[in-house]
Symmetry: C2
Subunit: 335 residues, 2 copies
């Protein structure tokens, strides 16, 4: 945060809401300028509504010292990513803020700027919410409401034997980025640009909303990679299985350089979370159309393998030797 101006605390809830948050409603009539106890949404005919709610908590999902604009971006991004994985587009969001102490004006100004940047990128607007003081850490609750043409929601379950499994973008950057963000001395073999790239992938995840239409048209099942590749692949496979050649996992140049310097990085790539890329099961007959749709949407997709009847995820290195990982990914009940 800037130190140019003296820190000024927000004195009351109404000030915070009306000065900084109400503009984010963009005048939506159902938000009532954030002056009602509830908000109103009139769904378009032919639209199903999709809901997701992933709170982020200081010390769990972000560092209390992170820039408020980055925290705000992430709060929206993790929810927009869930919508994108279902083939939905963001329509609106509800925001609940629990502050350990009344925030300074500069803090909330930066936070609101981050929300504004994110909602302009992802679509949707603020619809309502609530603020409180808490004896605990800063906690940001988002419930995001998306729209999908009726009957076109893309489920997590339902992938079938023979489906091709695709992943968007690159994997592992965010988990490496968290390490780079926390410890400036980490990855000393990388360039400053590479370290900044990794940290940016952690701080400012970019949900793959551009792929929503292609998912609705061609995906049998999908989810986003929030808890780690292995864990989320296992969820997509359900009762089926996959033999995954590690060499097929798409890596950024920065992650590839980190891996070249330290082979143990492979485990971080496999089980680190927070990438917010998408895992997609595509029936064989739709693979060409899916690839074409992704290319038209400007989203890189890589094929990881084909779902087989034998359950479980088998991971092998470039020489076909099995890779074992002790921890498959992030469990919200483990520290």
């Amino acid at each position: 945060m800037s130190c140019l101006a003296p820190a000024i605390e927000i004195s009351n809830e109404t000030d915070l809401i009306q000065t900084f948050l109400a503009p984010l409603t963009r005048g939506a009539p159902g938000a009532f300028g954030l002056r009602d106890d509830a908000a109103l949404l009139t769904p378009e005919p032919g639209t199903d509504l999709v809901f997701t709610s992933d709170p982020i908590i200081a010390g769990v999902h972000f560092l209390p010292t992170d820039r408020p604009a980055d925290i705000a971006w992430k709060a929206l991004a993790v929810n927009a990513s869930d919508l994108g994985a279902k083939g939905a587009q963001p329509l609106a969001y509800i925001l609940t803020l629990a502050f350990p102490e009344p925030p300074e004006r500069q803090w909330i100004e930066s936070f609101a700027a981050g929300l504004k940047a994110a909602q302009e990128n992802f679509g949707g607007h603020l619809l309502g919410g609530d603020t409180d003081l808490t004896p605990g850490p800063l906690s940001i609750g988002i419930t995001m409401i998306g729209g999908v043409p009726s009957g076109r929601f893309v489920r997590r379950q339902g992938a079938a034997e023979g489906d091709h499994v695709f992943v968007t973008g690159t994997i592992g950057d965010a988990a490496l980025g968290l390490l780079a963000h926390r410890d400036p001395a980490a990855f000393s073999g990388l360039t400053a640009n590479e370290r900044a790239f990794l940290a940016g992938r952690y701080l400012r995840p970019m949900p793959r909303l551009a792929l929503a239409e292609t998912l609705r048209a061609h995906a049998r099942a999908a989810l986003d990679v929030s808890d780690g590749l292995v864990k989320d692949l296992t969820r997509l496979a359900g009762s089926l299985g996959l033999a995954l050649d590690f060499g097929r996992i798409p890596l950024s140049n920065a992650a590839a350089a980190a891996l070249a310097a330290d082979p143990e990085i492979a485990k971080t790539v496999l089980s680190g979370g927070d990438d917010y890329e998408l895992l997609i099961a595509v029936p064989p007959s739709s693979v060409v159309a899916f690839r074409d749709g992704a290319a038209a949407a400007g989203v890189n997709v890589s094929e990881l393998g084909v779902l087989r009847r034998e359950p479980g995820l088998e991971i092998v290195d470039s020489r076909g030797r099995p890779i074992k990982i002790e921890r498959s990914g992030y469990d919200h009940f483990s520290r």
Copy 2:
């Protein structure tokens, strides 16, 4: 909590969700058995959706030692109350739980039982959510989704000069109940039944959903009394004003007895929160129909006065002497 069985911690998130929470979806297809990253709702044609999100936090809105079933009830009740004030009926809710440590099975069992009892009373069902561990206190986030016939949402703003102001039920019980709940020695002049009644009003607020249809038909504006009578009356009045005779405020027998023993209780009645009764502005031409509708719905309503052009709330006692209160009600940014 019962001490009959040894305390058993919930070992993972999936166990908690599938064993205790999934049954609360009542098989709603859009909840996908809580096995997807998002939930789906297909609105009925002709229905507007109403959203409210009031989290409750241990140490702020409830005591960590409260019965889990009471905590769960309250989490749903405070949100259902907001919907009721808008003339809406609960359809579904999203639940986010942040635990300081993995809960014991008995705790979550009781908590789920409280949710079940509440949703059976209020309507609606669990649609989705999220669980996390937090370094802070137990925090329960609810986003409740209600339905209202298109165009019939009852706003907080818009009350007009000459509108009659009504309040449901009795006022002050919950604030007194909090005192009785925290300190068994409080209100020693009351009977055990009276103290239990007051504590029950705090622990198990009953949203006035039965009045929703009457509100839609006859109210010009409404909100619920969550932050205190004076504060919420001021919100309803907006730029208008009201002369409030204290004697018109409906009191339970228990609150009346407490007031008779200690006249200072008047301030608690005026500024205490958590009653979750409704304040309603009714145009003069609709007063009779409103009273009839409330009677048919089985909800007691009392008239507090008529909105006048002169702004501000003036409170007088039975002899016409002004009553001053230093604190008008609960501000979420004050402790």
